[in-house]
């Protein structure tokens, strides 16, 4: 039935229309899809798009597709999908509505197609108006000699009072939370004793009691005295080992004496 219609339509086409549709075929590449083609075809109806005859349009489209096929023009899939759909739409529009059938009526489908065409045409008109506006660089111009704007980057630092206090507390509590910590106020280290003795030993040409090398202020407090004594004794041994001093003790618990060792000896 569709076939017949196409033939009929073709037969009824005027020469001008035929030329037009042949031109369409030649220009098939120029169409931006089936909707564009339908819009172009609809112009031959020369009516308000709202009053367009979708049925006529469907016929024209189908005949266009048939001709394209006859001329062995490869049509993109969406043209063929549209053709199939329009054939379906045409049958719906021609046949009385089947009350058992679900879905939109032929009229609804046709109305939507008309809406789509009208909308596309409206967008084309809008595009034309847009492009015809006064345009920057063509009708309107920007400052030709812009002045350089110097960019200055300024970093703004912030800190809160809490940051400050926490920072301080962090520092001041660091020692307390150290896993191993000695109260160094009461400890005289061997390093300290060594340093002290190295400075003094040069003058000790004769045997001297090592207690005289004790640092000032460490003799009164027994805890401090013990630390200082031990450190000084250890330092003496270290110096003896280095060959800097000689060390002697006359008997157990007698005072320990040191003397500078002359390098020439």
């Amino acid at each position: 039935m569709a076939e017949e219609d196409v033939e009929n339509t073709t037969a009824h086409l005027s020469v001008a229309e035929r030329l037009a549709s042949e031109a369409l075929i030649v220009d098939v590449d120029g169409f931006e899809g089936p909707l564009d083609l339908l819009l172009t075809l609809s112009r031959t109806q020369k009516v308000d798009l709202r009053k367009i005859s979708v049925l006529d349009l469907a016929r024209q489209y189908l005949s266009f597709v048939d001709k394209a096929k006859a001329l062995r023009i490869e049509l993109a899939a969406d043209y063929l999908v549209m053709a199939a759909w329009l054939a379906f739409l045409k049958s719906r529009l021609l046949l009385p509505p089947d009350p058992t059938e679900e879905g939109p009526s032929g009229e609804e489908l046709a109305a939507h197609l008309a809406f789509q065409l009208e909308r596309l045409q409206a967008m084309r008109d809008a595009a034309a108006r847009l492009m015809a506006r006064d345009r920057l660089g063509r009708d309107i111009f920007v400052r030709g000699l812009p002045e350089t704007v110097e960019r200055v980057r300024k970093v703004h630092y912030t800190a809160t009072l809490l940051d400050l206090m926490q920072g301080y507390a962090r520092i001041r509590t660091r020692d307390e939370f150290r896993p191993f910590v000695m109260d160094r106020d009461h400890v005289f280290t061997m390093e300290q004793a060594l340093e002290r003795m190295r400075g003094l030993i040069g003058f000790a040409g004769t045997w001297t009691d090592i207690s005289s090398y004790m640092p000032d202020g460490w003799s009164d407090d027994p805890i401090r005295r013990r630390s200082a004594t031990a450190a000084t004794f250890a330092a003496s041994l270290e110096l003896a080992k280095e060959g800097k001093v000689e060390i002697r003790q006359s008997e157990s618990f007698a005072p320990v004496q040191v003397r500078r060792r002359d390098p020439r000896e």
Partner: protein, 223 residues
């Protein structure tokens, strides 16, 4: 305002008295003249001394330049000085060749501007043909369109909107000032009418591409 109620930063501001409005107008004039890009009120505010009211200064300035060889024009939420269009004939020397846009690109641009925010699928539905990547890329590259918010529909597709550059190029204060927008809207031509079922869906083959775009987007913007 009483002193006790003042926030500390306002105290600082009040230390500097804002310049008289005539002076502020001069400042806005200097800033707008110095650049070829539109400048936002916010930016003006940031560059002018504390307490200035650039919006008011702008209103004065705009009035001052009415009918002159250059005009103060609004571009979205920014402002710029531009030559009066009727003097275009003097400017052949300054004319810049804009890249010739394809018909597809022009239509796509129009659809985006009138329907924004709009998804690629919606553009395809309106044009009845799939939108080639190149078309969108070209418009993006010209910075006439950009990505808008994702649509809250299945697949959360990306949308396109027009940019300030677009408004600037076409001399539009905002997208609301697009020619014929009202008429198109009242004619229902900007509605996104879903097609009745059984209508052939255009650009269906492109669905995959669109999904890829969506992913690309999230990669681009979410990290």
């Amino acid at each position: 305002m009483n002193k006790e109620a003042e926030a500390p930063e306002e105290v600082e501001k009040s230390l500097f008295e804002a310049p008289p409005i005539a002076e502020q107008e001069r400042m806005v004039e200097a800033i707008l003249f110095a650049t070829s890009e539109p400048v936002t009120v916010r930016e003006l505010e940031a560059r002018m001394p504390h307490g200035c009211d650039p919006a008011e200064a702008l209103a004065h300035l705009r009035k001052r330049y009415e009918g002159r060889g250059v005009r103060v024009v609004r571009v979205g939420d920014a402002w710029a000085v531009r030559t009066a269009p009727d003097l275009a004939f003097l400017m052949q020397k300054e004319t810049v060749e804009t890249r010739k846009l394809s018909r597809a690109a022009i239509e796509t641009l129009a659809i985006i501007s009138y329907h924004q925010p709009v998804t690629r699928a919606e553009i395809e539905e309106i044009r009845g043909v799939s939108v080639s990547r190149g078309t969108v890329d070209q418009l993006l590259e010209m910075e006439w369109i950009r990505f808008g918010r994702r649509k809250m529909t299945p697949g959360r597709p990306v949308t396109f909107v027009v940019t300030q550059d677009f408004l600037d190029h076409f001399g539009l204060e905002s997208a609301r000032d697009l020619p014929g927008l009202k008429e198109l809207r009242s004619a229902g031509l900007l509605e996104n009418r879903p097609p009745p079922s059984m209508m052939p869906q255009t650009g269906e083959g492109d669905v995959d591409a669109e999904e890829e775009t969506a992913e690309g987007q999230s990669e681009l913007f979410e990290d």
